[in-house]
Symmetry: C2
Subunit: 532 residues, 2 copies
């Protein structure tokens, strides 16, 4: 059976070849003017993990593993830091046991064992966390990671209400495969889609396919079911309610601190048949931001409304490096989208955007594919490939990552300047320079969600310190400029200090009290989100 | 200065005349075949309230009142039960003191006094609660109602982000009056609009103007600020975030149990210039439900998409009593709405609906008013007038009320039948029959929000028992049919048993723990939402 890579994004087959790494090393040498050597990638056989400190009792051992590869895969998410540490075979604190329960009852049994013994429990979906969301905590006598991968079924589809009861451990592609024969889709496509799960999306408030209106997984949750140390937490399946604080909104973003999500009723959709897309060029990022703002404030609610700054537009879509690109897309299962696109383009042109009439693709014939051609298609390919690209350069000294936020329009220019400056200055100090670019992944009537990408060349072996310095500078700039520490990458350990800064103090006390009530021994995913 | 009526909906001038009551009594006599006598309405002079048990200390007494009229007005909301009790001069447990703080600091001072003494604190917005949300609890030595009415200003407008910082005590009309000169509107129009406040809407998750997409006040909240016994709870102003559980979502629906909301940044809108509306007739309520479902599932997101059953369509819009009416409305500040309406009408017609082309009103000339003509206009008038109409019949023996829920489409037919039957049977027992009708106030892709109106003629003096029996039967039917106990009327005391039934047990424990942490003496609006 195909195995996940213990250090790279994807499967073992997705690990880069030495030849790929040599090419990359040569390119980096040329780009940064330093000698770069293409070291070989690590092998699992070279890995000596600490022996498991605990062992599962017979009652649950049938679905518990202490296999080295499994423990290694479940030691880290896939952040820059995670990949570097794993690449360097640094696994000082792996989970002792990885459990693969086959149903909710088995989830409960593993949790109860851990709760009884005081072992830490880490819920694991696809392991794609980039914020240290699934790594074993220190200071526990034992750590058990519960991999939900076997809870991978769409259990029920309500075609009339367009909703489905889905197990939390299902990966993106398998979920879509099960909905497709019925003509449905969840249409939630985070960049981690291939290696993330429904439960992970809910636990971390994942950002999805839609750039406007319903952007987070939050909006597609009809009800949730979660195993907690206090018992099952199951909300009622409802299209809407105004009854007290919403229980689902406390599950959303809880990152395993209260329990393990096992299933959810999700709002699904009929697969789109009608589509329209266009790439509108703007003379500057600022001008493009004005265009994006006016399109989203018109409430046409395009599915795609992503703005690339001139550098990203050049790299991802071949523009001239001076123009920003606003990618607009509409789609519908029921209605031709041409008129919506014409209205959006008219707004974008009024705001100073340029687009040829013939490069506006309107497919009102059901079934025709759009959005995979021209500048729009180029952007899409680079989006999906980005994590694999980063495998190639891992450990070559490149310090590259992305970070994101959301901020109101009035504060955005200040935030954009401050974050770019903070990253640039930190790279100048730690990496002898580098590049920083930005795009909007989502836009709201009251503000954008800017997404920054940076890359600098650090000292090999000093990448982690450089990365930490850059990340800290960027996070502080985001906080000082009125942004949120994360729009859709979650909090985990990485963002915890700023999440605590951003959150109302009284609210943090409420979260702590909730945690103590539900998980009085503090065994559920200790270390993420907030300090106890 | 004009005074609020101490028993009726609205101001003292809105209290019905004896002549109006005589006419109504005669009509009821004819309708129900029983003698109905038009007793006069009560007078404040006839009211003997319990003497205040406590008095405000000098440090805050300047803005505290023990005036009889104020204490009476602040004793009840405006539910059927409240109006009957007030009409009958039953005021066994009025607040001892009504405070009118003029700023947030004074809110804190009143709260701290109460917290120190162990007096109950009741946050009061407009007093329009229909669920017992603002009435004094038993078992306290003193009860202080804090009326936020003086915190009534729009403090700041961010035109670029289309948001505004608004004080929580502002009433609907005053809020709109302050936004209008800037070309903005909050566009949140619950039926209580005239006598409810921003803070009340947030605390109770009010349902507003929009029938689809963004239906609750929740979606318009950018950040909140709340005074709690632990200090200020203020969230960051953000267009969107995925950082942990949302603090605002815990404020929304908290109904004063954690603190008093003093201000919020709200997403506002440019006033609509383009409008389109149509009333589509369907041969049955079921057929109309299919039409409403298909329109909302198309994601055209009409502002109005309200379905009236044949009885309501006859009463409110003059239809024949056999046809249901689907009222569809679009509006926009930026874009002509004709095409949207044409698409919606096409869907509704495909689903079996009928509408003449010339009764589809499309106003793509900025400024022209639509939606106030024909069947749509008739419905609108009856919506706004309904609470005043109920003043006239108060105390005549009529048992009339509304109740609402939301449920997925697959469960809806069963819920509709069960709730109608439960109400009808309860009215047959307690009221010698009566009528029950239904409309959808809001619709979602996965289900409608049905809103039931019932009226029966009870024994005078026995109205409260009859009402209670009907309400209980309806609530149990809603629970058994998979609905929520309230889509937008809030929980308060009235819905508490079923809210607790509907909520996950573990979640209720979390709410209780949150309450104990923030309000360790249990002084904040005791008795609503959940039992401690």
């Amino acid at each position: 059976m195909a195995k996940r890579s213990f250090w790279a994004w994807g499967m073992e087959k997705d690990e880069p070849t030495l030849e790929q790494r040599r090419e990359k090393a040569a390119a980096l040498s040329a780009q940064y003017g330093v000698a770069v050597e293409a070291t070989p990638v690590p092998k699992i056989a070279d890995l000596n993990l600490r022996k498991p400190r605990i062992s599962a009792p017979p009652s649950i051992s049938a679905y518990c593993s202490t296999d080295t590869h499994e423990r290694a895969v479940h030691s880290y998410g896939r952040s820059f830091t995670d990949r570097i540490k794993a690449f360097n075979l640094q696994f000082p604190n792996p989970p002792d046991v990885v459990a693969f329960p086959r149903n909710e009852h088995e989830v409960e049994r593993v949790m109860h064992w851990c709760w009884g013994e005081g072992y830490a429990v880490i819920p694991y979906g696809g392991g794609s966390s980039t914020v240290g969301g699934i790594e074993p905590p220190e200071n526990f006598d034992g750590v058990v990671t519960i991999d939900l991968g076997a809870l991978n079924q769409v259990l029920e589809i309500d075609e009339l209400s367009r909703s489905a009861l889905i197990q939390a451990g299902v990966y993106g592609p398998a979920l879509e495969d099960q909905l497709r024969p019925h003509g449905f889709t969840l249409r939630h496509f985070p960049q981690s889609f291939e290696f993330s799960t429904l439960g992970g999306w809910i636990a971390t408030r994942s950002g999805g396919h839609y750039a406007t209106n319903h952007t987070h997984i939050d909006d597609f949750v009809e009800s949730t079911r979660m195993v907690t140390p206090m018992g099952i937490w199951e909300s009622r399946r409802l299209p809407g309610s105004g009854a007290g604080p919403s229980p689902d909104r406390l599950v959303l973003g809880s990152e395993g601190t209260l329990g393990i999500i096992t299933e959810a009723w999700m709002r699904i959709q009929v697969r789109p048949k009608f589509r329209a897309s266009a790439g509108v060029a703007f003379p500057s990022f600022e001008a493009g931001a004005g265009g994006a703002r006016q399109v989203v404030q018109s409430k046409l609610w395009p599915a795609n409304c992503r703005l690339l700054d001139p550098d990203e537009a050049a790299t991802a879509a071949g523009l001239d490096g001076a123009h920003a690109l606003l990618v607009i897309g509409f789609e519908s299962s029921d209605l031709p989208q041409g008129e919506f696109m014409r209205q959006a383009v008219a707004i974008a042109r009024d705001a100073g955007g340029t687009v040829d009439d013939d490069s506006i693709i309107i497919s009102d014939e059901p079934g025709r594919t759009t959005g995979r051609e021209g500048s729009v298609g180029a952007w899409r390919d680079s989006f999906i490939n980005a994590p694999y690209q980063r495998n190639i350069s891992t450990g070559l000294g490149l310090v590259e990552d992305t970070l994101e936020t959301a901020v109101t329009w009035d504060q955005w220019p200040r935030l954009d300047a401050a974050v770019r400056q903070a990253i640039q200055e930190a790279m100048d100090r730690s990496c002898r320079g580098g590049t920083v670019t930005c795009r909007f992944t989502h836009v709201y009537p009251d503000g954008p969600a800017p997404y920054f990408t940076f890359a600098g060349f650090g000292r090999r072996g000093g990448e982690l310190e450089a990365h930490q310095e850059i990340k800290k500078a960027a996070s502080e700039a985001i906080m000082a400029s009125g942004g949120t520490i994360t729009h859709h990458h979650a909090v985990g350990r990485l963002h915890k200090p700023w999440y605590q800064e951003e959150s109302p103090d009284v609210f943090l006390e409420v979260l702590r009290a909730a945690k103590r009530r539900v998980d009085d021994r503090g065994v559920m995913n200790p270390g993420v989100l907030f300090d106890p």
